[in-house]
């Protein structure tokens, strides 16, 4: 057995990473196509406000963070209706509100430096309990996605037409938003916010480069997500680098490869046509 697998924490990292590497891109495809790419970043800042509020009100901070995140996700949906043509604006507004509240709560005292420990996890630090949580979350998400696949696809492509085709758009959107908020609030504490929010975006962007249908986009995104996690963990272990960052940069590396691959393919075809024409 190679050294990397002899450590319990690395074994756990591989398991947790594989789960995150599958669920985040799967849910991320819908997030990106709904133009909510930055929702991870926003919800994590809102969660910070939630933790601070929990500390102020002597509520268990994880609960208040979760409550804040879900409220924010619903708020974003509401704002999205006001800013139909600029979906990402609703995210930016919620981000501002989130950090604004967080700084005020923090300056009101009580919250201490442990506030950040509620936000930052690390993939190498997960324990069995964490894996169980992530696995359950993953299961809920995967089942929901299979169940909602068609309706989410339609809503994402064309909300109006989806409504007319009989998709209960309000309910589906609501459920999806809660799912996203839960994913972020729960898993950021376990594997770190960087990993969750990046995994929702970077593999999807890479997948969109090579896919020739929506289904393929889904498959490639998940595949790239998995590869990024595995590659990142290996590199991180053998080159002594921070695991979260390394996984994300592996994802970026995959993305750049797909971009190059696509552009080179275009060039080659062009030359081929030139040569044969």
């Amino acid at each position: 057995m190679p050294e990397i697998f002899t450590y319990g924490f690395m074994q756990r990292a591989f398991i947790a990473g594989a789960i995150i590497g599958v669920i985040c891109p799967a849910i991320g495809v819908f997030i990106v196509l709904r133009r909510l790419s930055m929702i991870g970043d926003t919800l994590s800042h809102v969660a910070l406000a939630g933790v601070a509020a929990g500390m102020l009100g002597s509520i268990y901070p994880i609960y208040s963070a979760l409550a804040f995140s879900i409220a924010a996700a619903l708020g974003i949906e509401k704002l999205r209706q006001e800013f139909k043509d600029y979906a990402e604006l609703s995210i930016a507004i919620m981000l501002s509100a989130g950090i604004g509240l967080a700084t005020i709560f923090i300056s009101m005292g009580k919250s201490n430096s442990s506030i950040f420990s509620y936000l930052f996890g690390s993939i190498t630090l997960v324990n069995l309990q964490d894996i169980r949580t992530v696995a359950i979350l993953g299961l809920i998400i995967m089942v929901s996605l299979i169940f909602l696949y068609r309706s989410l696809f339609y809503i994402t492509f064309d909300e109006e037409a989806a409504r007319l085709a009989g998709v209960p758009i309000k309910r589906v959107s609501l459920y999806f938003n809660i799912l996203v908020a839960m994913t972020i609030a729960v898993s950021m504490r376990i594997v770190g916010i960087l990993l969750v929010s990046s995994m929702m975006v970077v593999p999807v962007a890479a997948g969109m480069q090579v896919a020739k249908s929506f289904k393929q986009t889904m498959i490639y995104s998940v595949l790239f997500g998995l590869v990024a996690v595995l590659m990142g963990l290996f590199i991180s272990f053998y080159w002594d680098l921070a695991p979260g960052g390394t996984i994300v940069l592996s994802g970026i590396f995959i993305l750049i490869s797909t971009l190059l691959f696509k552009n080179i393919k275009l060039k080659v075809t062009a030359n081929h046509i030139k040569a044969t024409a």
Binding site: E3, I4, Y7, G8, F9, M10, A13, A102, T103, I106, S107, M108, G109, K110, S111, N112, S113, S114, I115, F116, S117, F120, G121, S122, T124, L125, N127, G192, L233, S236, F237, Y238, W239, D240, L241, A242, P243, G244, G245
Partner: protein
């Protein structure tokens, strides 16, 4: 001194004849020191309440307005309080005693502190920090480990400067401050002796502790302990897997049985290592802030330091 009743200035009936000296400190340890030295003659305010996470902390205009009436201001320096530059500027030109606690202390440079765990040559911890080759001040930012207050003798030096400052502000009460200071100094010396004594006789190869975040370099240096930290001085830095693996190997190699974590920091690192290398977790207080619990039970610098001795003893005495 530093007993619960005193550390909570609000409980005292106001003494009309004395105008209390307004002292502002950046965060907890200096609040404790100032209150101990000043006693009933001072009104101490900690700008960062119970050590809120310092980097996202923004002082409110109210506290800045009050700060303008301050007579003494104490801060740590070494980039520990990012907002302090602005505050100092605000106070410049005013008739106020400003104490930069880290000034004149024997500082530990972060470069030395970046342990190379492959060669464990302890002697390099005894080298003289005064020979500070690097005088380039453009380049000064964050070069030194800021956790100075965890060396009791540093604490004594800082307390002395607080005493001097208070005496200048209120020369009538010099005697009181002198007296408070000497009793505090005595306590600190007692603490120092306790540290040395309790850890006496431990062979140098056993004087190694693993901590979750590198906050104990000054304490470690003073008592000839080697601090091996999982994360750097930035609490957000993620431990690398290689580091975790190395630490667990080290723990086995040196037969280390305990890992220290701080109440205010992420306990997960400690948890993982304790599993991986079979280490028992112990708490070591860095006093960047007090928890609600500690405030309620009236803990302070001295009492928590004694708890640190107990923890260290448990880990080091085999």
């Amino acid at each position: 001194s530093g007993q619960p009743a005193e550390s909570d200035g609000v409980d005292h009936p106001p003494e009309p004849q004395v105008e209390k000296i307004k002292v502002f400190t950046s965060f907890y340890p200096y609040y404790d020191f100032a209150l101990t030295v000043g006693g009933e003659l001072v009104e101490v305010t900690s700008i960062v309440p119970a050590s809120t996470e310092p980097h996202s902390f923004e002082p409110t205009p109210r506290i800045l307005a009050e700060l303008e009436k301050a007579e003494v201001f104490i801060y740590n320096g070494l980039e520990f309080e990012p907002w302090v530059d602005g505050v100092l500027e605000l106070l410049s030109g005013k008739d106020i005693k400003i104490i930069n606690a880290s000034e004149g202390l024997d500082l530990i440079s972060l470069e030395d502190h970046d342990h190379d765990h492959d060669d464990h040559d302890h002697d390099d911890h005894d080298h003289d920090h005064d020979e500070d080759e690097d005088e380039d001040h453009d380049h000064h930012h964050g070069e030194f480990d800021p956790h100075i207050w965890l060396d009791p003798m540093n604490a004594a030096k800082i307390a002395e400067r607080i005493k001097d400052a208070l005496s200048t502000v209120s020369s009538d009460n010099t005697d009181v401050f002198e007296e408070n200071y000497s009793s505090f100094k005595a306590q600190l010396e007692e603490l120092d002796v306790a540290f040395s004594k309790e850890l006496e006789g431990i062979p140098s190869e056993d004087r190694k502790i693993i901590v979750s975040h590198s906050a104990f370099a000054y304490l470690a240096r003073r008592y000839g302990i080697e601090e091996i930290s999982v994360a750097g001085t930035s609490p957000h830095a993620e431990p690398t897997p290689a580091k975790l693996a190395e630490l667990s190997k080290l723990a086995k190699a040196y037969n280390i049985k305990h890992i220290f974590f701080e109440v205010l920091a992420n306990p997960k690192t400690a948890e993982v290592l304790s599993k991986e290398a079979n280490l028992e977790p112990l708490v070591l207080y860095n006093m960047e802030g007090l928890t609600d619990e500690q405030q309620r039970t009236g803990e302070d610098y001295i009492s928590l330091m004694y708890k640190n001795i107990e923890s260290l003893k448990k880990a080091l005495v085999k």
